[in-house]
Amino acid sequence: MAGFDKVVNTYEEAMAGLESGMTVIAGGFGLCGIPENLIARIKEMGVKDLTIVSNNCGVDGFGLGVLLEDRQVRKMVSSYVGENALFEKQLLAGELEVELTPQGTLAEKMRAGGAGIPAFFTATGFGTPIAEGKEVREFNGRPYIMEESITGDFAIVKGWKADRYGNVMYRHTAQNFNPMAATAGKITVVEVEEIVEPGELEPSQIHTPGIYVQRVIKGTFEKRIEQRTLRQA
């Protein structure tokens, strides 16, 4: 690597430096737009006691679900979990901690974390169990709760195309949490379907500017579908 060139050629290099006990922010919604090969690499590395910040936790045997198999996850910060039997088992056994967070609050926690804003006020969750212990302030006659932002030691992101400088474009709804995750990692690793030369992507169409990105790797993806719903042609 030289200058702005962020491309690495192996998944070993892509996740180098990840250690047990770290916080990893992951993009993806369900199984859509998840960094599936970076997750698989974390499984291979065998690091433990991870805090994973991700909207969901994959399914049995795919996505973040694979990190449960060897009990690598200590805590999940998510809005919706439990699509996998192993997750439920570990949760009920007290081997896994879950911090349920409203989906919009989760997105904003990542966005604000990446933007250097340590906390924010939101009406979401006021009067509900998730407001317990949180500061309440009134603005224009309405109560809001304070939510603290999130940053991670690593952010793992799935893009569509990137150039060598780490400018990233996402494809369709595989965008989801990925752009916010990308801003909130001390080390942000993006895996993509295609790497192009700088200048090949239209500057105004870039979703994640390369300044947020430390490493880029080209992968091949299974892109498993969670709910295959079709209509007759």
Binding site: Y80, A107, T128, H172, R228
Partner: protein
């Protein structure tokens, strides 16, 4: 007769207006999309980052990168846009969505809603529901009026942990269309063949019954 799932969706669809941006929750609310009146344009918002959700894809159109908030594969309509989760919830939390339709376990006379957590059962999470109820002004809750055992779900106070406080003003059950105002349910319409007495007996929260309660027609 209590309303069928389809009739609930049909009744909700009468609240649509031309040019509305609408978020439909999972389950019965999703069916509302099938009853948009002819000649009316509405855009469906899906909170994973899509405005202008279309029908399910054909085999040829199927694309793993194109899903809705229920994680189902979908298509886009003409004029759709796709964006990040933060942008999606800026629309929701910023009050830009014209109508939100979602299900619930319980609602009460204070406009509280409980829809995500039953203590003692496995808790999967609230997803985007807390953001939707806190951010939207115009919300319709669709639910059954009472449990299978006849216990009312329209209460003086919700017994389950809340999804949102003081945010619900309109409720459509299988028996009735109700509004919530000043600490009471107001009975606005009843399902065909359902008596006011039955609705009164199955509503635990304070219920105001106007002199005339029209029957819905389908």
């Amino acid at each position: 007769m209590a309303l069928s799932r389809e009739q609930i969706a049909m009744r909700v669809a009468r609240e649509l207006e031309d040019g509305f941006y609408v978020n439909l929750g999972i389950g019965i609310p999703t069916l509302v999309a099938n009853y948009v009146p002819e000649g009316m344009e509405v855009m469906l918002q899906s909170e994973n980052g899509l405005l202008g959700m279309g029908a399910f894809p054909t085999e040829e159109e199927l694309d793993a990168d194109m899903i809705n908030a229920g994680k189902q594969t979908v298509t886009t309509v003409k004029g759709a846009s796709i964006f990040s989760s933060a942008e999606s919830f800026a629309m929701i939390r910023g009050g830009h969505v014209d109508l939100t339709v979602l299900g619930a376990f319980e609602v009460d006379v204070h406009g509280n809603i409980a829809s995500w957590m039953i203590p003692g059962k496995l808790i999967k999470g609230m997803g985007g529901a807390m953001d939707l109820v806190a951010g939207a002004d115009n919300i319709i809750v669709t639910m059954t009026h009472a449990s299978k055992h006849g216990e009312s779900k329209l209460l003086p106070n919700c017994s389950l942990p809340l999804t949102g406080a003081g945010c619900i003003k309109k409720v459509l059950t299988d028996l009735a269309w109700l509004e919530i105002e000043d600490g009471a349910f107001i009975l606005r319409e009843r399902a065909p063949g359902v008596s006011v007495e039955e609705i009164v007996s199955k509503t635990a929260g304070k219920l105001i019954v106007p002199d005339h309660v029209p029957e819905m027609t389908f």
